[in-house]
Symmetry: C2
Subunit: 324 residues, 2 copies
Amino acid sequence: MGERKIIELILEQLDKMPEMPIPFGDDVSAYPIGKKQLLVLKTDMLVAETDVPKGMSLWQAARKAVVMNVSDFAAKGVKPLVILVSLGMPKDITRKGLEEIAKGLNAGAREYDTYIIGGDTNEASDLIMSLSVFGLARKDHVMLRSGAKPEDIVAVTGSFGKTSAGLKMLLENRKAPEDIRSSLLETVYMPKARLKEGLALSTTRAVTSAIDSSDGLAWSLHELSKASNVGFLIENVPLATEAIKFAEINGLDPLDLALYGGEEYELVLTVKPSLWDKAEKAVKSVGGNLIKIGKVTAKKQIVLEVKGERQVIEPRGWEHFRKH
Amino acid sequence: MGERKIIELILEQLDKMPEMPIPFGDDVSAYPIGKKQLLVLKTDMLVAETDVPKGMSLWQAARKAVVMNVSDFAAKGVKPLVILVSLGMPKDITRKGLEEIAKGLNAGAREYDTYIIGGDTNEASDLIMSLSVFGLARKDHVMLRSGAKPEDIVAVTGSFGKTSAGLKMLLENRKAPEDIRSSLLETVYMPKARLKEGLALSTTRAVTSAIDSSDGLAWSLHELSKASNVGFLIENVPLATEAIKFAEINGLDPLDLALYGGEEYELVLTVKPSLWDKAEKAVKSVGGNLIKIGKVTAKKQIVLEVKGERQVIEPRGWEHFRKH
């Protein structure tokens, strides 16, 4: 069973809370507080065996567990406030290993101005870090996956392809020249969540739909397409120069690296054309970039058009490393 | 490393949120909303291998994952509102197994008037259900572990020993006569959280400290003792008649079953003597019982005195089944 099927089977069995402010299937959940505020909630589990690539330290893995949760808050434009951590650890965990994990969790939390305020520990076969993150938000500031309208501008917060390249170095023993090696690995070991950008965007009310690219750019576009019931015409995929160089040396298509990667935590969103300038300015004001990559179409198809040539962007990501 | 040492090592590495409304080490965590309200948070992980005894179905295990979290809310007098579930599942989980889990989670949630509103799924070696539960509470209604004062009355919400007996049947192949067999197993397979009782008590403001007995009555008393910096003189341990019968047949001390068990979800609390009647009435009004078992002492010792004989209550619980 794939993850999608698993989730579908589970949802069939659950009674739905009446008037859920954010539907199942978006990146976070919510509970209404008063008329205008939402308690925003998110849980995500890092399983070392499937989520931690070779060479990543326990400190980095723990920090990453925070980053991947914060990134979902970033995509929704919600400030994470506090974090709980449920740890499952093998019996033979060392004192040093444990301290590294705790330091990494704390570093991730403090990097995004949050605190770890509780949790529990358990014995398990795998090393597991299950995080729960909480925030408060104005209901009309939350950026959902649904809401994209034809003619909206599709935008991202950075270039793509470095993480794929880094993962290919680690998992497929691909080579990279000395001058870009550490930069590529850095994106894998030390991912960053675009929290400042997401928070800045949320107050503009320019964003009609949003998601992070943790499952790859192509996959994220498909998720937005499904939730918003629209298609996309992508005309510009921003490629990291290091990814282009890496692709050249390894005989790979840099577009493949950029589209079908994963573990890359940019934001992918759609913006009302009339509010584009406001959105761009908001992101720039916090030191970020908002890059146009295409537009929303009524036809529910995701197409890449480069130099007059069209190809369909497929719903796949980094399958060997992540489950979907 | 024991669980206590593990938690200590982790806490040493964490920056503390300024002015935490509920300290580390209590059963729930909290974040202030305004001046009088708390967002109350709790995460607890069920690992099938260590938390699910023989003969317990997946449906029951999933329901139990909810109950054990709700029980902590009950002990704090806080109404749980919504639940997130992070599932780790072996690759070979069947459709039927998955449906059972989802049904059990939903049944547990609905039993306590809450909803599951989100979560995620992952592949893991063990079957793992990591739940996060959220509630809102008036700050002055939350019942902490700390706060017991000498002369306060120690009370519980039910009798003890059935779960220990049931676990001994399952894990040590102990025998029980037909007429109590299913009742003993039922307490293991279908534990109940004392949520009504906890909520009724919280509004009386009679309770000075509280915990649930999920790690056994003895262990719970030691936790309250540590957090409140007091001791207890216990004069009456309410024994379930089935536990007495089971002990007799198996040549066991029924007091041992009652004190050193676990997975039994009664509330253990201390009550201001002047407000005892109010507390008792509140619990009765929701169909429960509040049973006096002793009193709080200034001397930090936990003593059982039965028929003039004194013995020290040791800080241990069901070690073979739970880790502590």
